[in-house]
């Protein structure tokens, strides 16, 4: 469970997050949508402390990650992240991309790390690519490997920042399928996305951000059928 309370983030004078409060239950899938520059990425990146919150608290599994005494590295091991541009390690093979952190961070032996890795590659349909270097993969394949890499740490929460925005249209589906399957396994997920169809189908809740403010927080049926705010209505009009 993730509990965010009155989260603020400033870059110098620029106030990017203006007091976000929300709770993501265990096993819940939350879609985060909103116009460009509204603070979606910043919000997500605060959750695993890639950005340091200016004020407010974030509890992950009842641990206050904004507390100075909390071990950030330990927190990050439980929170997987998938980026728009994959960020696979180009000098490592697909298999090594998956086994690196479990071995070097969690201290897993090679055998158990590879066992987990092969299981995940199978799950994302890329078993036969284990020995390839990332440059030999298509965008969709890269993103599926990136998802598997994050899952290899066996995180409790997965964050996705526009995981399909850098993909050619024909590759979006294969990535969304993997995410849908993951959602069905009960993984807690926060997904920044512009894929409204996906959000509607897979998300349990939609968070609509605008100008650093959480404007709406409602189930997708409700959000897409009757957005309460004018800003969400305008946004959806443009998107659909």
């Amino acid at each position: 469970m993730i509990k965010v309370d009155n989260l603020h983030k400033n870059y110098g004078k620029l106030e990017v997050l203006k007091g976000i409060t929300t709770t993501i239950q265990t096993g819940e899938v939350v879609a985060i949508i909103g116009p460009s520059g509204s603070g979606k990425s910043t919000f997500l990146r605060c959750l695993n402390l890639l950005e340091a919150p200016t004020s407010g608290t974030i509890l992950i599994e009842n641990q206050d990650v904004t507390d100075k005494k909390t071990n950030i590295m330990k927190v990050r091991q439980n929170v997987g992240m998938v980026f728009q541009h994959f960020h696979l390690f180009p000098h490592k093979t697909v298999l090594q991309n998956l086994t690196y952190a479990p071995m070097k961070v969690k201290g897993l032996g090679r055998d158990s790390a590879e066992k987990i890795a092969y299981g995940l590659l199978n799950q994302v349909g890329l078993s036969e690519k284990a020995g390839e270097y990332p440059t030999r993969l298509s965008g969709g394949q890269k993103q599926r490997v990136a998802i598997a890499r994050a899952l290899a740490m066996e995180p409790k929460v997965m964050l996705f920042d526009e995981p399909t925005s850098a993909l050619d249209p024909e590759m979006v589906k294969e990535v969304l399928e993997v995410m849908k399957t993951l959602a069905n396994t009960g993984m807690t997920m926060a997904i920044v996305t512009h894929e409204m169809g996906f959000a509607r189908e897979v998300a349990d809740r939609v968070l609509f951000l605008d100008g650093g403010v959480l404007v709406e927080d409602s189930p997708p049926e409700e959000f897409f059928a009757n957005p309460k705010s004018q800003r969400a209505q305008d946004f959806l009009q443009k998107m659909l």
Partner: protein, 219 residues
Amino acid sequence: MNLDFTQFIPSMPYILKGILVTLQIVILAGVLGFVLGIILSLLKISHIKILNWIADLYTSIFRGTPLVLQLMLIYYGSPQIIGYQIEPYTAAILSFGLNSGAYISEIIRAGILAVDKGQQEAAMALGVPYGKMMWDIILPQALKNILPALMNEFITLTKESAIVTTIGVMDIMRRSYQVGAENYSFFEPLLIAGLIYYLMVMTLTFLGKALEGRMRRSD
């Protein structure tokens, strides 16, 4: 022009032994410079101001003064710095190592900064601690990109190493010069030295290209 190489044939083994001396100095200084370069580059990209400052000062001193001066300061200064006279050979390795460390640190720093910021974020998001991230993720990618520049530095080192002659190290240069003095004819032995340096540099260039090719496997 009358050139007579035949009279120098008996001296060839003597000159050629200088290759080992030169190679030893260049390789040991190269290793020292490389290790130092990595350390300095990490200081330069650190977020701790005083560390940036120390590394920048070091670099500016070693780049801002002549190498031959650094060589002589270390050699002739050793009794006053550490209390006893060091070997010319040691002074050569030290000064070349310390000097190339300054240049290599700039190359590595640029290489690290050129690695996509996303790599660091991906590693951080996986909970990889800073040291391991640098060593396993960032530096290997940086090194691959700067390999040509590093090879260049190594070649420069090989050529510049000829100035160790000035403190009496028995390298290719000094041996050729001595042979010239004995025979009252400097031109031919110096040409021979030139050819040896040239062949060494060509070999290094070739090895560098081969290594680069191997490192490009993942592209």
